[in-house]
Subunit: 388 residues, 2 copies
Amino acid sequence: MNNFTFHNPTAVYFGEGTVARLGELARPYGKTALLVYGGGSIKKTGLYDQVLEQLASAGIRTVELSGIEPNPRLTTIHKGIALCRSEQVELVLAVGGGSVLDAAKAIAAGALYDGDVWDFCMQKAVIQDALPLGTILTLAATGSEMNGNAVVTNWEEKLKRAFGSKHTYPRFSILDPTLTYTVPADQTVNGVVDMMSHVFEQYFSLTPDTPLQERMCESVLQTVIENAEKALAAPDDYSARANLMWCGTMALNGGLISVGMQNDWASHGIEHEISAIYDIPHGAGLAIVFPNWMKYVCSERTDRFAQYAERVWGIERAGRTDEEMALAGIDATRAFFSRIGAPSTLADFGIGGEQLDRMAAEAVRFGPIGSFRKLEQADVKAILEMCL
Amino acid sequence: MNNFTFHNPTAVYFGEGTVARLGELARPYGKTALLVYGGGSIKKTGLYDQVLEQLASAGIRTVELSGIEPNPRLTTIHKGIALCRSEQVELVLAVGGGSVLDAAKAIAAGALYDGDVWDFCMQKAVIQDALPLGTILTLAATGSEMNGNAVVTNWEEKLKRAFGSKHTYPRFSILDPTLTYTVPADQTVNGVVDMMSHVFEQYFSLTPDTPLQERMCESVLQTVIENAEKALAAPDDYSARANLMWCGTMALNGGLISVGMQNDWASHGIEHEISAIYDIPHGAGLAIVFPNWMKYVCSERTDRFAQYAERVWGIERAGRTDEEMALAGIDATRAFFSRIGAPSTLADFGIGGEQLDRMAAEAVRFGPIGSFRKLEQADVKAILEMCL
């Protein structure tokens, strides 16, 4: 186990009806909130009205920024930052899924920064401060509700980049599983793939002596697998939705399940290059990439992959080598993704091989990616070819 | 899963050498620290000197309170509170195991309270504020380094009582596994039993639909079991000590592993009555009580006990009823405790049945205890009789 620092100051309010606490939670932060949301589904469900009512009851004036895109765009974030400045916003409140939350983080950090918020994504500047952020989650997926990370897309440059900071942890996050009842099946699937992928990035690690962390990772994976099909079969199954929601949070809450482990994140890097160009859903891209990444790198540590196959998928060790176990576990992953309806190839989106070189080059812009195996440009291209 | 709030603001600095960060971590809190420690073992190991040096380098004046007892006493805590007031202490720094940390929490809360700190233990008052608290942990056991709980013994009244508050979470905790190399075998064992017992109190619950939480509990238990004998065989095995230390923290860090589950805590209540009278180590008392509590209550939910036997102890289901599984799991628990050298009966401490009625009456002073099965005075007495 490596040395580590862990500090996750986000307060989580979990369960049916917890939106009713918004007023009391927001009140201490000031008089004006920027409400950040997406395409308006929160208006159909009544959540929008409830949020406005809660804020009004707390004496908070609301400024709005709607229309956050599924891969949130820098241009939209710039609008939010301008609103924060012109309206003296004191609290940013994100209501939506990971994209809305990520946009809100970029807005909160950008509002207190003199340069362009994109600098944080391009590693040209480090976040020193941010406006307080609260969130109401409507989609179980990214874990953004309990970490300081965000992903932003610069559509002009066709670049998708992440930043992370201790200043962009939400002060509070409201997680009501019933808000995910209306999430369409494909988005539920993308969320499932996303949270599983977050665990994979942490679990497949070369760091020795991390038995508790490995088991925590396996616990999240098993619970996601157990509940995904239940939620798809009955979208208003409270237990399934609640378990998925909490799994999504635990999968990436400041690294708790992998403290002291070197993480990888190469597959996320590769997927970001795909969705930066083709604007496909992040979870869908991960479903395509991850099993191929696994096949490409599993020889680095077949024992970990064999453990994965046995503990997560219940594949019997008897009569199998570690290599056979590893491949069986990877096959089980692909089979599960297909069973829940996730795509398995770029061709499923009509994407061909034209941009592979560009994507591979962009993926390693800051140097080789990953740590389980360091991937050079040629490796990334090889994995992308497996995705065709 | 029940609704829940989770908020754990403690920052953890984990790993060999992290004591060297004390100065920078303590500096923001002020000019005077109260250093709270136990019997002086920190002077033998050199930790005491390092702490003083770190505080001095940060420009912090140090006031000392040494001699905190294994079951920390109210009279000692009163001395600490008086020191905080007379010396204008701004930071309480606990260096030691759970007892030292608990005493420091009581001091930190008592220093800002006009009445007697014992009021918090007797539910006569609620903590409204506390001095900032930092900790350096030297014993893996109680989880006090990452929660707001403390246990205090009032020796005059022979009462041992707990309190918990969001104000008494440490601001920072330094966890260096090498500091536990010198922990004697019996204290290592008591720590192992204590952390396992914390998990038991959360895991044996009637709350339905908590699969991730159950697996997290099982993960901690499996990892403790796997590492306990390694640490006993080689006290300076870094990996074993590090895993035990992190398991102790995860076992009781604000309830993370059991969010949304009703907890029990009856066995802790019963043990507190034993050690309040006989001053035996808390972990030793728990080793005696817990398997007997398990036997007394397991019929409430044999499926959970059967799951425990299978997942934690690897006992095969084939050919066994849930009842047989449950009993096999309880037997495995007792066998493990005995194997690592924990006591199994009150007679091991020369304690007879003279005070059973008094202990049973005190345990239910505020009403029946526990939630897995509510225990009345007669139930507590029955369990205590099983401990003789």
